[in-house]
């Protein structure tokens, strides 16, 4: 299988999820035979292409243009469409980042093709490639296959493959420049400055214990219960997105794809169902405890310890138990 993997960089810095996708691509090439091209796209990214050339692949495609300096969906789509048309890969793989969500379906559609996005893995059995993704907010998994002719487009969710398994090559891969033709008037949107909202007063990534709360808490007035527990266990309080959307806790305490990614030694998930967007931000935690009234909640799939029950009974009980001392 001829695979093209699109890496992601911003201002000359890698988005590291790119290497997880590279690991998946290398594994797939090993299973199916074929070749792997690694695309580096932007402006002034030759040094990154040279770095990528150390990875085990058949070539690095360096796609540079002055109009690709800042990411735009129009620019990336037009440039990659030309590269895909001329190199005709069977499969184009992306890391499932916010940027990829922004342009990859458009790129595929511009070639009248479909994309299977946000995959958590794949299976290659008897010559058939099946992608696995989640549906219903993680309550079910789905096996999805392509039924139309190549090229196929797919993206892998962060954390689905281990970037440290991306192998270096025995020899450096050649860096080949892919010429693309872009005109300023083809780029219809104007990207402006990047910024972070209020400074991050708490750095949850450094907290050894995190007590996280989700929709199950029902109302803002119930939050002190969780705060008391966090204090008793010596942890920082955090939340899934809906709680921060409601303004019950500041955005800086949000864990998940749009918030912080953490890996504490203990993560207590209270009334959190375990939607993908949350799970990608905490699944690396050493010990995960889930308390949820729904025994089918997907959070239990990644928990080390689970309690099926009412958080309004469990939280005070836990606080009391911790208060007893050793």
């Amino acid at each position: 299988m001829k695979i093209l993997t699109i890496t992601e960089q911003r201002d000359g810095k890698w988005n590291k999820v790119s290497f997880e996708t590279l690991a998946a691509a290398q594994q797939l090439v090993a299973q199916t035979g074929g070749t792997l091209s690694l695309a580096v796209i932007g402006r002034g990214v030759a040094a990154l292409a040279e770095e990528a050339a150390a990875k085990k692949c058949n070539e690095v495609l360096l796609i540079e243009h002055e109009l690709l300096e800042k990411y735009t969906a129009d620019g990336y789509t037009l440039a990659l469409k030309q590269v895909i048309t001329s190199s005709s890969p069977d499969l184009v793989l992306f890391p499932h980042t916010y940027q990829v969500r922004d342009f990859a379906p458009k790129l595929a559609a511009s070639l009248s093709k479909g994309m299977i996005g946000d995959c958590t893995g794949y299976r290659y059995e008897n010559g058939k490639l099946t992608f696995v993704r989640q549906m219903f907010q993680g309550k079910t998994a789905a096996d999805v296959t392509f039924t139309a002719a190549a090229p196929w487009f797919a993206s892998f969710q962060a954390g689905s493959f281990r970037s440290d398994l991306a192998e270096n090559g025995a020899a450096r891969a050649p860096v080949n420049k892919a010429a693309v033709d872009l005109k300023a008037e083809q780029i219809r949107v104007k990207p402006l400055e990047l910024f972070r909202e209020a400074k991050q007063a708490v750095d949850l990534t450094q907290a050894p214990i995190i007590v996280a709360v989700g929709r199950g808490i029902k109302e803002q007035k119930n939050l002190p219960l969780v705060e008391t527990l966090a204090k008793a266990i010596g942890g920082e309080i955090a939340a899934s997105r809906p709680i921060c959307d409601e303004g019950w806790l500041p955005m800086e305490r949000q864990i998940g794809s749009s918030g912080q990614t953490v890996a504490p030694k203990l993560y207590l998930a209270l009334g959190i169902s375990g939607a993908i967007q949350h799970v990608v931000g905490m699944k690396g935690s050493r010990c995960i405890v889930a308390v949820n009234k729904d025994s089918n909640a997907p959070i239990f799939e990644i928990a080390d310890y689970g309690i099926v029950g009412d958080i309004f009974e469990l939280i005070p009980a836990l606080t009391a138990e911790l208060g007893k001392g050793h």
Binding site: F146, V189, I307
Partner: protein, 256 residues
């Protein structure tokens, strides 16, 4: 401004899901359905833009007869009219075929702005808005946290990962996908619910749009995910379970 909002109806959040015979969709009998939550933020944003700049909001939904209820909810909240693209087997459509169908319906009118939610809580493809932009030949932006319209240009705040944001300018007409939490969603008032009864819902059969449903991808089966970890479920009363957990955390996992 003439704004179309694409709204999906999805199983209610707390609905117990059972996989249907055939294995590629859920059993629809005996569960409730509701407006896809991310789309409710897109609807709210559309209503606010209309209230500020004038114009109309059209709620568009694809699916079986039941999705009319969700269109009615949008009308009760303030949308002027609805378009129902009817298809009993819409769940079989892949992202591209869905978007092609919606695009064909939207193309019948000249919308200044098309809004969608970020993704649906059922399939969760998260592609519809981006695909609509490509199919309608419009510029787009995704995961939008604020919209300011000045003449024919929108200044947008786009959410990136890990707490980063970006300003960008996008000319109208355009397609935007809206991030959840961009606004506070309103409730329908009694007056709104009464007014909605007189509002029009145009029905278009998906078949009549001439979009091939022969998809490029197929959901072969859906299933309860296999566990990646062995979870130890602690049972008993709240007090007993809490005691067991603290014991485990102290002496087995040794994390407290």
């Amino acid at each position: 401004m003439k704004i179309a909002v694409c709204i999906k109806q999805v199983p209610a959040k707390d609905a117990p899901l059972h996989i249907a015979e055939g294995g590629a969709w859920i059993r629809e009998t005996d569960i409730g359905f509701e407006m896809n939550e991310p789309d409710s933020y897109a609807l709210e944003e559309a209503l606010r833009l209309k209230e500020k700049h004038g114009g109309e909001v059209v709620a568009v939904s694809m699916g079986p007869e039941r999705v009319k209820q969700t269109i009615k909810e949008a009308l009760a909240k303030g949308a002027e009219r609805g378009i129902h693209v009817s298809d009993d087997k819409f769940w079989q459509l892949d992202p591209l075929a869905s978007a092609q169908s919606l695009a064909a319906a939207l193309q019948k009118e000249n919308f200044d702005l098309v809004l969608t939610g970020l993704q649906s809580d059922d399939h969760g493809f998260g592609q519809t808005g981006v695909l609509l932009a490509e199919l309608l030949g419009r510029p787009h932006a995704t995961i939008i946290m604020s919209i300011e319209v000045t003449g024919a240009v929108m200044k947008l705040k786009r959410e990136l990962e890990a707490g980063w944001f970006q300003w960008m300018e996008v000319p109208l007409p355009a397609v935007l996908t809206i991030q959840s939490g961009i606004n506070k969603v309103r409730y329908a008032t009694l007056k709104g619910i009464m007014a909605a009864k007189k509002k029009e819902i145009a029905a278009i059969s998906r078949e009549s749009l001439g979009v091939d449903a022969a998809a490029g991808q197929k959901v072969e089966r859906i299933y309860v995910p296999t566990k990646s970890k062995k979870t130890e479920i602690l049972s008993g009363s709240a007090k007993e379970a809490a005691a067991k957990l603290v014991e485990k955390l102290r002496h087995e996992a040794r994390v407290i």
